[in-house]
């Protein structure tokens, strides 16, 4: 018996300073995907200590600012929203 197994990466869109810090416009997490917004923030702070300067930076899930306890799935459109500077 063949078990088909599709692993879906979690993709994080990076803008502004987040793209500068991470060095790319899409950051991929394959293993140990964070299950909440707060966990993702912790992951980013650990991997990229420069985010500390902008902590607590915002995250958006499906194009809406996300709350810390919000659940994440790899189907969500997830984005890092560093301090904005439009206008």
């Amino acid at each position: 018996m063949l078990i088909s197994f599709t692993f879906v990466n979690m993709k994080i869109l990076c803008f502004g300073l987040a793209a500068e810090i991470i060095g790319q416009r899409e950051y991929i997490i394959s293993d140990e995907q964070p299950s909440t917004v707060e966990a993702l923030r912790g992951h980013l702070l650990e991997q990229f200590p420069q985010f500390r300067e902008y902590h607590p930076f915002m995250l958006a899930v499906n194009q809406v600012y996300a709350l810390a306890e919000q659940q994440l799935s790899s189907n969500d459109e997830i984005a890092i929203i560093p301090p904005v500077s439009g206008g």
Binding site: G16, A60, V84
Partner: protein
């Protein structure tokens, strides 16, 4: 970011006109959208690119946006303003991409029955845009280096 250009760049109905544009903005496009025979007061805010910022000479700005979320945040803000300040029509155009000195980064136009509501609405819209809407600017200095503006 070419990718965001595959998203729609505007949200327009009969009373709200929100656009992200890669081409130079037109003050009159915003004015013409909001003018209304029920309204006596129109306020427009135009944000232009200054040559100097905090002692540095700037040669150009570059705006990037998270376009679908920027449009949806602007729509929310405009709807709130219409309800809260009794604004009749609102037009917000924001430039994306490269913008030169004295060029326009943003135009906000608001029409109201009376003038004080127009001023209040317009100030609310630009203040809230600068605080919440996912648009970011890079400022290019004369030596070609750039600085990603981040106002926490």
């Amino acid at each position: 970011m070419m990718k965001s250009l595959s998203y729609p760049l505007s949200v327009v109905d009969s009373q709200i006109d929100i656009q992200l544009k890669a081409e130079p903005l037109s003050v009159m496009d915003c004015y013409n959208f909001v003018v209304d025979e029920h309204c006596g007061g129109i306020d427009l805010f135009v944000g232009t690119v200054r040559r100097w910022n905090k002692g540095h000479e700037i040669t150009k700005l570059e705006f990037e946006s998270y376009a679908p979320m920027a449009l949806s945040e602007l729509k929310k803000i405009a709807n709130h303003a219409k309800a809260h300040f009794e604004a009749k029509k609102i037009s917000i155009h924001h430039r994306i991409g490269t913008v030169g000195i004295t060029e326009i980064a943003v135009v906000i136009a608001v029409s109201c029955k009376h003038r004080s509501a127009a001023f209040d609405t317009c100030a609310y819209l630009i203040d809230t845009l600068k605080e919440k809407v996912p648009i970011w600017k890079k400022e290019y200095k004369v030596d070609g280096s750039y600085w990603v503006n981040a106002r926490p």
